[in-house]
């Protein structure tokens, strides 16, 4: 038996420890955006942060992503304090945030280049990922030529091109119509089954949370805090009429009031 770094392998992929966030512009009278948040996410777990707008769920996601700084406490990934983006984290934004001057394939290649994929392999890697998200025919289209759902597929492929352990998703299907949204949820689960990742997914849709999550973390605003956590062990694909889900829906609904 050796006492190498492997012994230090953390039990959790992401740990959020007594994390608080206050914007300087808010002033001391307002309650903090995030107050003493405690959250642990296991490797390959699918966690959904659920709450009304203003409850700090996106801020929490941004801090885990390294896009924003915590005011107190810390977020750790693989036992290391997060100070900046990168290092195994891929992010998907609500509006896709694709670069409009690049085609679908070039958008994915942008990320592959950042990951350090040699120039000659980027094309192949991108084509592979676009095929994974079901976009083989539209590789050379610009984002403006793609529907909202297709843009989000590209955004997911782009995040995957970073080859991350963690996928951070900020209301990625929030701007889509309901049918496309359900379709995209199933797509995401399919992709997640093919490429296991730790996922932190932000939404304000209870049903979306119920369909996707291993664990739902319900948050409330002013101060931003966690008010309820529930694990869901029901097999996917889940059906909306499942009595256990209906029961959970009721419980979460009440927690959100």
């Amino acid at each position: 038996m050796t006492f190498g770094p492997s012994m230090a392998t953390p039990q959790f992929k992401i740990e959020v420890d007594h994390l608080g966030k206050r914007f300087d512009s808010d002033g001391p009278a307002l309650p903090p955006v995030l107050d003493d948040i405690q959250l642990k996410v296991a490797e390959n777990e699918f966690v959904v942060l659920l709450g009304r707008s203003g409850c700090g769920k996106t801020t929490l996601l941004n801090i885990i992503a390294g896009l924003e700084r915590a005011s107190s406490g810390e977020a750790r990934v693989d036992n290391r304090v997060v100070t900046r983006p990168g290092a195994g984290k891929g992010m998907v934004f609500q509006q896709g945030a694709l670069f409009p001057w690049l085609t679908a394939r070039q958008n994915v290649e942008f990320a592959a280049r950042n990951r350090g994929v040699p120039r000659g392999e980027r094309g192949l890697r991108s084509a592979e990922l676009l095929a994974l998200v079901g976009l083989t025919g539209a590789q050379d289209k610009y984002p403006s030529e793609l529907s909202g759902g297709m843009q989000q597929r590209v955004a997911i492929a782009r995040a995957l091109a970073l080859d991350p352990d963690i996928l951070l998703m900020d209301e990625p299907f929030g701007a889509l119509d309901e049918l496309t949204r359900i379709e995209m949820q199933n797509e995401l689960l399919r992709v997640w089954a093919a490429r296991r990742k730790t996922v932190v997914f932000v939404t304000h849709s209870i049903w979306e949370a119920l369909m996707l999550a291993d664990r739902i973390v319900v948050m409330a605003a002013r101060p931003g805090r966690i008010v309820l956590e529930r694990c869901i062990s029901i097999m996917r694909p889940r059906v909306i009429t499942d009595p256990a889900l209906l029961q959970l829906h009721k419980e979460i609904w009440e927690a959100l009031q």
């Binding site: 992503a65 896009l67 992010m91 934004f93 670069f99 403006s144």
Partner: protein
Amino acid sequence: MTRRARGLSGGQWIAQYASPTLVIIALLALWEVAASVGWLRPILFPPPSRLARSLYELATDGYPEGVTLWVHFGITMQRILTGYAGALALAVPLGLVIGCVPLLDRLTVPVVAFSRSVATLSLLPLAIVWFGTGEGSKMFLIGYGCFWVMLSNVVAAVQQVDPLLIRAAHSMDTGRLGIFTRVLLPAALPRMFAGARVSLGVGFMVIVGAEMIGTIKGLGALIMEARTFYRNDITMVGMALLGVIGMLIAVMLQRIEAWLLPWQSRERR
């Protein structure tokens, strides 16, 4: 380019090219008739047939004698392009820097807004004192007009880049230089091109005035010289030629834009 290549049906082709041409021909015909029956005084409104003869005279003998249309055309083109290119060469890098550094922007906003608002031609007397009546003062005036317009457009272009795109690039761990060259620049390009077009328009407004002094060459000088001798026909031909140059450069810019910004032209389609 053939109709098919542009993807236009017969009806669209007529709507886009044939009908406007007919309107122009009809207007010219009306003008000609009006002048020949005496509704318009030919000395004030020389008819199109007279203008055609003047154009021919200008192309062969020249006006003033020996300075042909081609000389005027070439000189004006050269002045506009040098002044314009010089203005862009200065305004683009400077605008990028100011746009990227909010503090610099706050410091320079009043200067830019003021300098941009000064009617360029009001600088003509000063320009002559500073740079003489030769090419220098003309370049300066054209450059001045184009520069401030372009500068404020480049600054705005950088500032209007969607911050979400910067965040997205940041989330992919793109470095500072990468964010500038791979995100900020391409994202700002469309607005910068719009600025380049407006700026060129300013160059054209300035050129006629700039050529009024100290030269007999150039379309502006031609127009002034002809005015002095009541050659309204020549003045009109000069005006038309300025219009042609303007259109040529606009088309050129459009081509460059479509080539550099393919995602924009595909959007419009």
